[in-house]
């Protein structure tokens, strides 16, 4: 994008709607968005908070179809390494992140389940469990973001935020006998309830700050909440009445409904307890851009805003679902991404896939840069006080492998992480990393997660 940067100042309205803003409004004013309540309120001990009292956030960013291994991995390990090839866009952020090799999701391997590596790659990624192979009987497991949100979610207005920049879903069957829910969700509230991500940035924005013009939004949000309690009481009673008449399988559906009701009730309580988030004072994004890069950028911006205003501390984002066959014509690649990943060892095709991988990494790098340039309440950057995992549930998209997954952990974790390294962990469950992150988020009593064998020590 930088080849057009000279246009940014004068003639580039809302290319990236927040980036444009960053250029036109001085950042300090923007920094005042950050909540101050942390210092004022009685924090539960060490829950999603850094040593300096700032919120600690964690996010999981999913990219589809793995990455060409030879272009991904840096040649050197340790602190002295260079990011070339696919990871080159991250070179200037090198000291803010860790490249982790040797992390596996064994339950995404076929085992006796046969084909379906894209469905598995997608939904095993954050759950670490074996998926029930079925078009109907959907059973995964709770995902790590939801496990964390379950314990730290009451610190913020929204326990978690699920985002996506994927296309509309096609109809028909999904991957090899797996229900479509697996391939289109990374976040799972329970084994049977996926958390579908929001792909329209305008709706995300309105969910965070309310609908309408900047001046009206807070009032609109408050109005929406007023009177909600009596409605919740009513529907709860209706649900109880209904439940007694239902078969067991059906009760599960109603349970999902009731979980949602309870979550909204809790949010109402929090709304009374907490100060309202500051309105960013900018226009809401208009919707889903037809330009993919713009869509991705604005969606990342939504996550940044939610973190900055401390509306949530847990987020997931799907750049696209595993198996995505998007075409990248804007970087000279007319073929479909998934189609290309089965590259028949043709150098041309391999290179094209690597370029797509790199394009995705580039979008992530832009996001990290913005996190780094945004000061947090404690004077450090948002990136310092975050732990952002970037990865895919497939390692080599051509062969559908699920070991040595491409994983990046960005951010300082409020001083608890040791960034600026390329570490090969040999062969450890990815879930071990998740446990280490959960610990830092203040999650307690989580002995095991997915197929974990312990904590990943060297992070």
């Amino acid at each position: 994008m930088s080849h057009r940067d000279h246009k940014l100042s004068g003639k580039f309205p809302r290319r990236h709607f927040l980036r444009g803003l960053g250029a036109s409004i001085a950042l300090p004013a923007f920094a005042s968005l950050s909540g101050t309540k942390l210092f004022a309120s009685e924090q539960a001990a060490n829950v999603a908070v850094t040593a300096s009292g700032a919120p600690l956030r964690t996010a999981f960013v999913y990219f589809p179809n793995g990455a060409i291994p030879s272009s991904w991995w840096p040649a050197q390990t340790g602190k002295d390494f260079t990011l070339t090839g696919t990871l080159e866009p991250l070179q200037k952020l090198k000291n803010q992140l860790q490249i982790f090799g040797g992390l596996d999701q064994e339950n995404a391997e076929p085992g006796s389940d046969g084909a379906g590596d894209h469905a598995r790659g997608n939904s095993v990624f954050l759950t670490g469990v074996r998926l029930q192979k079925s078009s109907t009987d959907v059973r995964a497991g709770i995902s790590i973001d939801q496990e964390i949100a379950r314990q730290v979610g009451d610190q913020t207005m929204l326990p978690s935020l699920e985002l996506s920049s994927d296309t509309e879903r096609p109809s028909g069957n999904c991957d090899s006998g797996y229900a479509c829910a697996y391939q289109h969700n990374v976040s799972w509230k329970s084994a049977t309830t996926p958390m579908p991500p929001e792909r329209n940035p305008r709706l995300v924005f309105e969910r965070l700050f309310g609908a309408g013009s900047p001046g009206e939004r807070a009032a609109n949000l408050a109005r929406r909440r007023a009177g909600q309690r009596s409605i919740l009481d009513f529907v709860m009673e209706d649900a109880r009445q209904m439940e007694s008449r239902l078969a067991a399988q059906d009760r599960e559906k109603l349970d999902q409904y009731l979980t949602g009701v309870r979550e909204i009730e809790e949010r109402l309580q929090r709304a009374e307890r907490m100060a309202a988030a500051k309105d960013p004072g900018i226009e809401a994004p208009t919707g889903v851009s037809q330009n993919f890069g713009e869509h991705v950028g604005i969606t990342f911006d939504m996550m940044l805003l939610a973190f900055q205003t401390d509306l949530t501390r847990v987020a997931t984002m799907m750049l696209a679902h595993d198996g995505s066959n998007r075409s990248f014509d804007h970087i000279g690649i007319a073929e479909g991404h998934h189609d290309l990943t089965h590259h028949r060892n043709e150098e041309q095709r391999i290179q094209k896939v690597a370029q797509i991988d790199r394009w995705y990494v580039g979008q992530f790098a832009n996001f990290l840069e913005r996190l780094q340039n945004t000061p947090d309440v404690d004077g450090k950057s948002l990136l310092d006080n975050s732990m952002i995992v970037y990865g895919s549930g497939n390692a080599d998209g051509n062969r559908h492998t699920h070991s040595n997954l491409p994983i990046i952990l960005a951010g300082g974790g409020g001083g608890t992480l040791n960034p600026g390294r390329h570490v090969n962990h040999g062969s450890q469950p990815l879930c071990d990393l998740f446990l280490s992150l959960a610990d830092r988020m203040g999650v307690s009593n989580l002995e095991r997660f997915g197929d974990s064998t312990g904590r990943l020590k060297d992070v």
Binding site: S2, G116, S171, S176, K189, A191, T193, S230, K253
Partner: protein, 931 residues
Amino acid sequence: MTGLLSKFPWFFSCRLLYNQRSTQLDNHVGLMHPPRLAVSLIMLHSKYFTSLLLGQPSRRWLGPLPQVCAGLLLLTSILAPAFAAEENSLEQFRKNIEPILVEKCYDCHGNGMEEGSVAFDGFASQEELVENPQLWWRALRMVRAGMMPPVEMTPLTAEEKQTLETWIKRSAFHGDPNNPDPGHVTLRRLNRNEYRNTIRDLIGVEYDTQNDFPQDDSGHGFDNIGSVLTVSPLLLEKYLAAARTIIGQAVPLASKMTPEKKLTGIEFLPEGADSNNEANSNNEERGPRWLSYYEPGWVSHRVKVEHPGRYQLQVNLSADEKFVDDEFDYNKCRLNFSVDGMSKLSEEFSRQGHKPYQFSYDVDWQPGEHELIFELTPLTPDEKQIRSLTIRIKEVIVRGPFGDEHGVPVPNYAKFFPREVPENIEDRRVYAHERLEKFATRAYRRPVDDETVNRLVALAEVTSSHPGNTFEAGIAEAMTAILASPRFLFREEAALAPTADSTYPFLDDYSLAARLSYFLWSTMPDEELSRLAAEGRLRENLPAQFERMFNDPRSEQFIRHFVGQWLRARDIESVVINGSEVVQRDAAPDPAAQKMRKRFRALLMKPREELTEAERKEFAEVRRRFRRQRERFERFDLDGELRRAMRRETELVFETILREDRPLTELLESDYTFLNEKLAEHYGVAGVTGDEMRLVKLPADNPRGGILTQGTVLAVTSNPDRTSPVKRGLFVLDNILGTPPPPPPPNIPLLEDAGNEQQRQSFTVREALALHREAPLCSSCHNRMDPLGLALERFNALGMWRETDHGKPIDSAGALITGEEFTDIKELKRVLVANHRQEFYRCLTEKLLTYALGRGIEYHDTETVDAIAAQLEATDGRPSALLKGIVGSAAFQKSRPLQTAIESATIDSAASDASTTKTASAAHATSAGRP
């Protein structure tokens, strides 16, 4: 159609008839041994049941009843010997089935062999083997699809096949055709489409669920499957917000309102336009008015008011553009809005991507005319004009004069409040009770109990007691709660009391009404259906009601959503196909163009700051050439109109066959289709002019006609840059023949390594696939898939006819695994109709049953599907037989009773076992615990 649908007997009457006949039969076959009798009865019943169940809309369906009976008895006596008397399923298995398995299957599935993890002799006991309906269901499907035994092995004889099929259906499935298991449909929530339609019919509001709700999960190829439609916390939040928005839009909070007049953009006329003429000619289309950023111009409207007073003007605009990928438009303009010469708005606009704007102004007006003017001034005359930037003047709403004395009746007030609100508190309560009971009954699609209505009234009273709130506001609040209730959002069903003979009970009329309306209309039952249900007379009026519903325009929903998903016609609107690339690849490769692309990508990979001045220039040049090249082929891109035309083609062909009760095989092969000028041109069919889709009779040598050669199917099964014969072949197996191959093995060896890289560059897809098939691991499935897909190679990824691929001629000849040879797609269509009709009938029946029920097909549905498919064969594939077969089936009409407490406890514990970690299941239990 009218005639056809009107006089068939339906389920209820069928059963009566059956009972009478079976009594006669008991006498007739009284000499047979009981088990044999049972088998005979089953056989007889299954045929008989079906014919009756499906009805006799035409003489062609069946002969006179006595003949049929005779025929069926004959059939029974032929088949019955396969199962001698006094044998249970295990004995039958040992005697009739095991020998077949040993001879034809054990080479791979016995004696220590365990292909596909199946060993028939690998069970702890034969009882366990026999009591394994899922295994036998798989076996039945494999045998029927011709996948087992594999081609290289000795095939089953027709008799063996029949014996096996019969035993599986009767014994292994424990099927009781006299009382078929209707299965269980998991509690279904409304999907996005059903929600939108239901809200429209319930309350008259168009709510954009497509945009506002997260996407529905689908299973078995459809998005209305109860078990996979989940409710996430996000969705619940959306439901609550939607309920409030919808009620806010629909329900008036007072009986009077400030007068309001809407001036649409088109009513603002440019200088010199004859207001009378234009206003009249545009009476029909009261749309917006666009002003270009690039040209100065103004439009005006004179509004006349009668009363002096305070008015409010609300201006609704948006800044529109035509999207151009990766190129921006830096033009700006200034828009002025003035009232009676006073400027109210003067604002600068740049490119804003369809962003809406709203401005409000208060004015004090005297009676008479007032002039409103929009004036646009371009600010950047030298900028390149790329995106057709426009200001879209949607409307100006003139509100006023304000003040109670000017209030006018709210237009739809009477719809919600037919009487004046009583003064007295008790009367008010009665009125509230009446209004809310009525609304809740419709919204819940069944009667509501008094206790619920009392809760609603209490909720309404609390709300209206707040200062400033009206009685109406209270009712609106309670209605909001109704729309948020699970009883609205889920489709709860109830069954009639079980009958004395312990057969599966029928669904009650309310459930049946909802099943019908959501099946055919994707919406709630209308008044007539609800009334019949309330009177308990729906079932007896089913034929007439079905016919009425089918002929109602709302059944367009069924066509759109069923075809949209079965044939994936929906996806054509969003599938990414790179038109210029596809067309270029049909021709011989252009090395210069390929080199240029490669260079472009190489430059793109370099960090911008590292580019030399020369490279920068080169980059700009390559970009420019690219764009030029793309422009040359731009006309091949699938634009919105063409995509819509394709979708309509698929829908219209299906709809025509259905409405005119034409043979369903015309879906595979026909000499007509639906086209408009644009689509005809795309297909290379001459002589079609104009935008509207119409029936076009195709020339004899034209390859089109039938779904396989429609743009929808051809494009949605392609990659962005090229065709995919594998995906196309898979589509046919999956959706036409109903015999999907097993998924590919997880770790596909790199077969494509065969051949050197240079060869591969210029391979046609056929050549590449031929290499692929050389591997035995791949051949068994690809021999089935590839010929089907390769027969369609004459159609590129855009669905256009082509002569060459990579400049080489295309060979579309091939042979099916069943042996039939064909030279082109026309011959393949013939083969499919002539030899594979029955698979097609069964496949379509399964798809439609899935869609109608909202659940996947189970082994116990085999009998129903077979019966309907047989009926289709007997009627030359009449859609009426299919639809009536579905609606008349036990699966559609009956219900499996609630599980006992013990059974549900087992299921619950199984469910938590499935969450793999202890902690996760604990979390599940906590979050999903009951209140």
